[in-house]
């Protein structure tokens, strides 16, 4: 769907209106995953493997079942086989079958009349394990004698002799690399490592399930995609999709980590067996051990540059591990690695390796931060070696309209150059620095996504409008959707109310991911509003007894146009609504689409740090985010996405990491030892929103949710390198690592 009009003057879009769910959220009234209860409800609890890798020889649940208050115990035997292998992986992640594949893998679950009874019952379940050798690091998992995490999962396109743990082999690029490197004045090759991190949403996964003996089910859960949850759970329980109704609760953060199932099928199976509703809530320890995290990575980058800063060739080899199951995230890494550059010769290869870790879940721009960290660090090192300004070098090589991207498509209107220019012109770029301080810069990129979307608008008798959409609202999207409906209909924002429907009330919607909601649901809302306007104009044409084409919609009113202009008094939406029952009945607008044209998003981050040479601690002095939003529908929430993503990236760069012991167990499954940034760690995160309209959306909107987590990793690394005069090639840049680098 094309951009309407570049010069369009917006009335509602671009303002900072109050969000509809705000008061509920500041008064404690909003209901999240764990906040719902049902009469007769039981409490569930999950038994998890203490071993990183073990064959499950037998599970004896009889003593647990005999405990007073226990109403059901389930194991993998209580689920169907999934229809597809990808779905089977999702189920096996929720409940281990033959083998426990990582520390924290679920092996059985109970439902009891109290939380304490459920916990006591877990201790009575006897699991007979045969402990197997395990592997948790990429390098180790590629060794010829490494334990095979799962048999028969090797990539079909893998060359002969590839280790069975390698599940994906991908390659992108174009041009003659050899000739490109030959033209360079300087070629460097570097290796980088990034640790696995967790999305770190503050709300643990939680759900309330109720299955009745006639095969019908209700599920309340915190999820980014309740339609997808329904599809998976119905498959695992052998239910018809239509018989399972899933309602998305308010969601306490997801960032990609709530795009799949973790405990929901287990709660449904417990409820079915017990014949009562079951609430299941993960502890924080379980969240760390058995949900999320991201991939960890080990990458090699080779880049050639001329003396004046032109990149002549660029090459990447990415190795990701995404836990104990095949994981395609490396493909997104390889596609995005060089997206910010206009390159004649480029190639990005990638492999994914299985390890005994939890199954990776998406995390904001999945796959991109680690790849772009490696590339942007290498570019920065070349700039240092050749004595070039890192911003000028980015500008010189920047992808722009017409650039054939490294991953294939040719870019349309994109905002990278404008974003770089904005950074160059910003006072931050010229601010003075003192000893032990350094400034870093990095570009970031995300593809963005559109996808399956379905929206209904209902005109109420008083002329106000209800919007029904199907995507959980994580950061204010109900406000943005109402704004776009109000804009299109020409009515005030507070005359629109948007709700997120359950799966039985509206057609299918893809998951809230890929920065898709404001773009795709917005687009469908605008089209649904146009559908409603056409219907209202037709009703008015009938009343006036003129042609439908002779009625136009302006400022919330139908007006006669063309030869009839001025013949009738305009009719407002309220007047049309009031007599709808006499002109043909209720009026609604509807649109369904598999939306295309999401429009990629670029960002540039600037950061100044000061490193304490005594302690190795990095303090952030200044931080500025520049990002192309296409059109910022609600600037507060666009800024919020830019700031939130930046701070998650800061955590990734400086503190956060999954630490596994020799025994294959996660050493830091809690917020005390897995330390995410807190308010006192940070300065103000400044934001500059650029608006380069997306040609694929009527208002020019681009998704903004993900790009912002990409640049901080390299921006921080480049800043630290310049502050201490030595470069780390590994994240996080924790104080001990910085002290080590300072020692040389």
């Amino acid at each position: 769907m094309a951009l309407d009009d570049r010069k369009r003057a917006f009335k509602v879009v671009g303002t900072r209106v109050p969000r509809p769910d705000g008061i509920d959220k500041v008064t404690g009234r909003a209901l999240y995953g764990a906040d719902m209860s049902a009469p007769g409800m039981l409490h569930g609890a999950i038994l998890r493997s203490p071993h990183a890798h073990a064959r499950i020889r037998a599970i004896d649940t009889s003593r647990a079942e005999a405990l007073p208050g226990v109403k059901a115990v389930v194991t993998s035997a209580d689920f169907c086989r999934a229809k597809h292998s990808f779905n089977q992986d999702a189920l096996d992640h929720c409940m281990a079958r033959e083998k426990a594949l990582y520390d924290g893998h679920a092996v059985a679950a109970v439902a009891a009349t109290s939380k304490s009874a459920a916990r006591a019952a877990l201790e009575l379940i006897a699991v007979e394990y045969e402990v197997l050798p395990h592997v948790t690091e990429i390098e180790d998992a590629l060794k010829p004698d490494a334990p095979v995490v799962q048999e028969d999962r090797r990539a079909r396109n893998a060359p002969e002799g590839t280790h069975p743990n390698v599940t994906h082999v991908v390659s992108f690029g174009h041009g003659d690399l050899e000739a490109g490197f030959a033209r360079a004045d300087r070629v460097i090759e570097r290796s980088f490592r990034t640790a696995a991190t967790h999305q770190g949403y503050i709300e643990p996964h939680a759900c309330l399930a109720s299955v009745t003996p006639d095969g019908r089910g209700e599920l309340w859960c915190c999820t980014q995609g309740h339609y997808y949850v329904r599809e998976l759970c119905a498959d695992f329980l052998g239910m018809d999709t239509s018989q399972l109704r899933v309602t998305a609760s308010e969601i306490g953060g997801g960032f990609g980590g709530k795009t799949t199932v973790t405990i929901e099928p287990v709660a449904l199976a417990l409820s079915r067996k017990a014949g009562r509703p079951v609430k299941l809530v993960m502890s924080r320890d379980e969240v760390f051990r058995a949900s999320g995290p991201t991939v960890s990575s080990w990458s090699d980058i080779k880049i050639g540059m001329t003396r004046d800063g032109r990149i002549t060739a660029a090459q990447a080899m990415l190795r990701y591990q995404g836990g104990a199951f095949p994981c395609g995230t490396v493909e997104l890494g390889a596609m995005s690695a060089f997206a910010a550059y206009d390159l004649e010769a480029v190639r990005a290869d990638g492999i994914n390796v299985m390890t005994n870790r939890p199954r990776q879940a998406a995390y904001r721009a999945p796959g991109a931060p680690m790849a772009i960290y490696a590339v942007e660090s290498t570019v920065d090192e070349l700039c240092q070696e050749l004595g070039l300004d890192p911003l000028e070098v980015r500008l010189k090589n920047a992808a722009r309209k017409g650039t054939k991207s490294a991953y294939g498509p040719t870019f349309d209107d994109i905002g990278l150059v404008a974003t770089l220019e904005a950074a160059k012109a910003h006072p931050h770029y010229a601010a003075p620095l003192c000893p032990n301080q350094g400034r870093g810069l990095s570009c970031g990129f995300w593809f963005n996504f559109g996808g399956n979307t379905c929206v209904t608008l209902n005109l109420d008798a008083d002329g106000t409008v209800g919007v029904t959409e199907g995507n959980p609202d994580i950061g204010g999207s109900r406000a943005s959707i109402s704004m776009m409906a109000a804009e299109e209909l020409g009515i005030p924002y507070d005359k629109v109310r948007t709700i997120v429907a359950d799966t039985a009330s509206l057609g299918f919607n893809d998951v809230t991911d890929g920065s898709r909601v404001t773009f795709a649901v917005g687009l469908a809302t605008i089209e649904a509003a146009r559908d409603m306007i056409r219907k209202m104009c037709a009703r008015v044409a009938k009343i006036w007894d003129i042609d439908e084409e002779a009625v136009i919609w302006e400022d919330g009113c139908a007006r006669p146009a063309g030869p009839n202009a001025g013949d009738f008094e305009p009719m407002s939406i309220a007047e049309i609504a009031a007599i709808a029952n006499k002109t043909g009945g209720p009026i609604a607008g509807h649109h369904e689409v598999n939306a295309d044209g999401a429009g990629v998003s670029f960002g540039v981050h600037l950061v100044d740090v000061e490193v304490d040479p005594e302690t190795g601690h990095t303090k952030i002095l200044r931080y500025t985010v520049f990002q192309d939003a296409g059109k910022a529908v609600h600037p507060d929430y666009v800024e919020g996405q830019m700031q939130g993503g930046a701070v998650q990236g800061i955590g990734w760069a400086l503190n956060e990491e999954y630490i596994y012991g020799e025994d294959g167990r996660l050493q830091n499954p809690g917020f005390l030892d897995y330390r995410i940034p807190v308010a006192s760690d940070l300065p103000k995160i400044d934001t500059v929103i650029l608006e380069i309209p997306n040609p694929g959306h009527p208002y020019g909107v681009r998704g903004v949710g993900e790009t912002s987590i990409v640049p901080p990793l390299a921006a921080l690394s480049n800043a630290v390198a310049r502050a201490i005069g030595a470069r780390l090639h590994e994240l996080p840049m924790s104080p001990p690592r910085i002290l080590q680098a300072l020692k040389g």
Binding site: V26, R29, G200, Q643, F671, S680
Partner: protein, 158 residues
Amino acid sequence: MSRIHVRTTINGDAVEYLCEAGQSLLDVLRDDLGLTGTKEGCGTGDCGACSVLLDGRLVCSCLVLAAEADQRSVETVEGLADGDRLHPLQQKFLDHAALQCGICTPGFLVAARALLEKNPTPSETDVRYWLAGNLCRCTGYDKIVAAVMDAAAQMRKG
């Protein structure tokens, strides 16, 4: 298992409940009293989502035993507004878009209230350090800090 009889005051109302010896105040608030505005993010005192005031002092309700609330007063996010009049902190959180998902918001509001009752003129650094026990993964804290500073300014004006 015999249960403990507790008489307490919650948000100004007299409340009685029976609890297990090992039950946390957070669990009783949420599971037994239906006060689900107080959230659980960790259960180990590390995230601040469960912040409440116990006799006016800021505590993590996940680390307080339900039995300890006997003869004391508890204030939660549900007690912040005065009927339909929002507390200035609540209003400023809305005005500054200081929440995205909102799961951390009750904890931040209760913690910020405790700060402003102690120190009506906090600096931005005071606010950032006082709130360092409250985790927010969505906002990067900027708008939260701005909201608290603005609420403090408004409350000083009265």
